[in-house]
């Protein structure tokens, strides 16, 4: 069988992940704010007798800046083997997209141009002559729509021919002094698979990573001399390349101005981006989301709990048999976990997907900037923090978008207070369901206060200097139900395949521990914590098990206290339990990623300190409220 490796490359928000999903089926989550892909994502597809491996790379604007995303993409492009590249460009903004296309052509990488958002361009009155573009650039140009799968078959055909395609395409002509410098450096470059002209350009643009291709130290010194004599050479190269990109875009497009939709988009932005109305609307939206989650989540949870309880009683297992008792515990854990976590996790991902696809999430992020700045968080920290609302583990990886390890670690420390979907399920499904709306809201408010105090203390220790903010805002779009559902399913997959079996295992483990009397032995050394929190000692078992997998917390609480939690705990105890279960680095998976991203000592230290802080905070509030 023939094997192909194809890279997907393009600017942020250009539709790379959507295209990957259209090519191989739903595999990756698509977000319309930059930085959500900080690693390459690989997926394979068999076509006839060929196995194609597609590699989705982080979005970059050019092969020139030195961001973390750019380094990952550049490594995939130049250091790892590949048979070709699909360069995805935005049809609504061709001249901006062509800049990188010209760089890829300079590198003589076999490429197919996938033209995305063609319908959007038409709506804006932009007509594109694809045949003319193909002739001008010397590469195949395929208009696509990954969401409706338009043009995907044609694209696959073009990919299969890519290996035999000519690598020489359009070449940018620079000013004489630049061309002279290119020729001078080109003659002093070692033998390599990359074109010498491309390497010379990278050297002239000041990319020190390309010095290794020069024949000797003396040549490097010569190159530095050229840069000294012409300090603006990198800028000149950039301006010429952009000018050429604009020229090509102009040659192949016809523009008929259509203002109607643009006006509507601007009107919405005038409200959402207003210095007063923007934050206010964002706050109202968050409140509405809270209400929807609580109302519909509680509704579904009630139905599911009723169903699972009647299902369990219909099994009719004799409780006196040890195996039956263990099985019942396993099934109780499974049923409770599914009833508590599933409605909130699913609803949350559905709402998140909707907000992303409409284009609202990026606006909300901008409106929370001032707040983040106040916490001493760098501007780009919103990306991992927003992802943290879904799951802390990928959010830890997403801290890589920040420029320094110090910033990354500082941001990661806030995951202790950003509730992931599992922690939201605890707040909604345990505190909200058994204690009421006010208690659930109080837990969110407590998380906020605990986070503010944490920030106040830690920013004095770490002295973080904020990165400047630069964020692309996606246009408002009608969300496609199929797309939102597919995205929610991808995010939910781990819950279904990993968490649900774990819930059953957790329940069985608790059953075994309980039957053989190990639970009391396990709880005994932790008794002071239970006393401090004002909780019954058995409630520590769900807190401990919850660290293995957060969704176990709610299920285990029902295992140890029964389904009538409001009879076993007072409202204050339900609240305290909610706070203790949600503050801190949430689970062993998140800890594992933290260890991978930072040093072992730092990751362990952060986890222990954040959990201890959560317990201290919860106990303190319990004491203060009890006092009154």
């Amino acid at each position: 069988m023939e094997k192909f490796k194809i890279l997907l490359i393009g600017q942020p928000n250009v539709g790379k992940s959507s295209l990957l999903n259209a090519l191989v089926g739903p595999r990756v989550t698509v977000s319309n704010y930059p930085g959500t892909t900080v690693e390459v994502t690989k997926a394979k597809k068999k076509i006839n007798n060929t196995e194609i491996e597609f590699v989705d790379t982080p979005g970059i604007y050019s092969i020139s800046d030195r961001s973390e995303e750019e380094k990952v993409t550049e490594k995939a492009l130049f250091e790892e083997g590949k048979d070709g590249v699909i360069t995805i460009v935005d049809a609504t903004s061709l001249e901006r997209s062509f800049y990188m296309v010209l760089q890829i052509l300079e590198a003589r990488v076999s490429t197919v141009l996938a033209l995305n958002f063609v319908e959007d361009a038409k709506k804006r009155g932009i007509k594109i002559d694809c045949e003319k573009l193909e002739k001008l650039l010397g590469i195949p140009v395929i208009p696509i729509n990954p969401l409706t799968k338009t043009g995907i078959d044609k694209l696959v055909d073009a990919i299969l021919k890519i290996r035999n395609a000519t690598r020489r395409g359009f070449e940018v002509e620079y000013d004489d002094h630049i061309e002279k410098a290119i020729n001078k450096i080109s003659s002093q470059i070692k033998e390599t698979s990359m074109p010498k002209r491309f390497i010379a350009l990278r050297v002239l643009e000041g990319d020190e990573d390309f010095y290794k291709y020069l024949k000797s130290e003396r040549v490097i010194e010569d190159a530095k001399e050229i840069l000294k004599d012409h300090p603006k050479v990198a800028e000149d190269i950039s301006i010429t390349r952009y000018g050429t990109a604009s020229f090509i875009a102009e040659k192949i497009t016809q523009i008929v101005p259509i203002e109607k939709e643009k006006h509507l988009q601007e009107r919405i932005d005038n409200i959402l981006m207003h210095k007063v109305w923007g934050p206010l609307t964002t706050g109202l939206f968050f409140l509405a989301i809270f209400g929807i989650l609580l109302y519909f989540g509680n509704l579904i949870q009630g139905v599911l709990m009723g169903l699972t309880e009647s299902l369990l009683s219909s099994f009719g297992l004799a409780e006196h048999s040890i195996v039956a008792m263990v099985l019942i515990q396993g099934l109780t854990g499974l049923a409770a976990g599914v009833s508590i976590a599933l409605p909130y996790v699913f609803l949350f991902y559905l709402i998140l997907g909707l907000l992303e696809d409409i284009g609202l999430l990026s606006r909300f992020i901008v409106n929370t900037q001032r707040f983040l700045k106040g916490l001493g968080l760098p501007a780009k920290a919103f990306i991992p923090l927003a992802l943290g609302l879904g799951c802390t583990a990928p959010a830890c990886r997403a801290t890589r978008v920040l420029s320094s390890k110090k910033e990354q670690f500082y941001t990661a420390s806030f995951f202790a207070f950003v509730p992931c979907s599992s922690r939201i399920a605890i707040i909604m499904g345990i505190v909200g369901f058994y204690g009421g709306v006010k208690l659930a809201f109080s837990v969110f408010a407590t998380l906020l206060i605990a986070g503010l105090i944490w920030a106040f203390g830690i920013k004095k220790i770490m002295h973080i200097k904020s990165d400047p903010l630069l964020l692309e805002l996606p246009p408002y779009r009608k969300p496609l139900v199929r797309n939102v559902l597919a995205k929610s399913w991808i995010r939910m997959k781990d819950f279904v395949y990993v968490v649900i079996p774990l819930l059953a295992v957790g329940g069985i483990a608790y059953g075994i521990l309980d039957i053989f009397g190990f639970t009391s032995a396990m709880v005994k050394p932790l008794l002071p914590i239970a006393v401090w929190l004002g909780l019954p000692a058995v409630t520590l078992i769900p807190l401990v098990f919850g660290f293995l997998q957060k969704d176990l917390t709610g299920a285990m609480l029902i295992s140890v206290l029964g389904s009538e939690i409001s009879l076993a705990l007072t409202p204050l105890q339900i609240y305290t339990f909610g706070v203790a279960a949600t503050i801190g680095i949430p689970c062993i998976i998140a800890l594992g990623i933290l260890i991978k991203e930072f040093e072992f000592k730092k990751a362990i230290g952060l986890t222990v300190i954040s959990i201890a802080y959560g317990l201290l905070f919860a106990g303190l509030i319990w004491r203060i409220i009890s006092f009154f």
Partner: protein
């Protein structure tokens, strides 16, 4: 970085810590710190 030298920028909104700009159908939020770094060659209506 997302903005190429020589591009025409239109400021569409001002936000507390920066501006929202439009470049060829794309909208960006620029923080104050980064907006100050932009060298404006020519002002005008586009």
């Amino acid at each position: 970085m997302g903005i190429y030298p020589g591009e025409k920028i239109r400021i569409t909104n001002k936000i507390p810590d920066g501006v929202i700009i439009e470049i060829k159908n794309k909208k960006f939020v620029l923080g104050k710190d980064i907006a100050k770094e932009i060298e404006v060659l020519e002002y005008g209506k586009i």
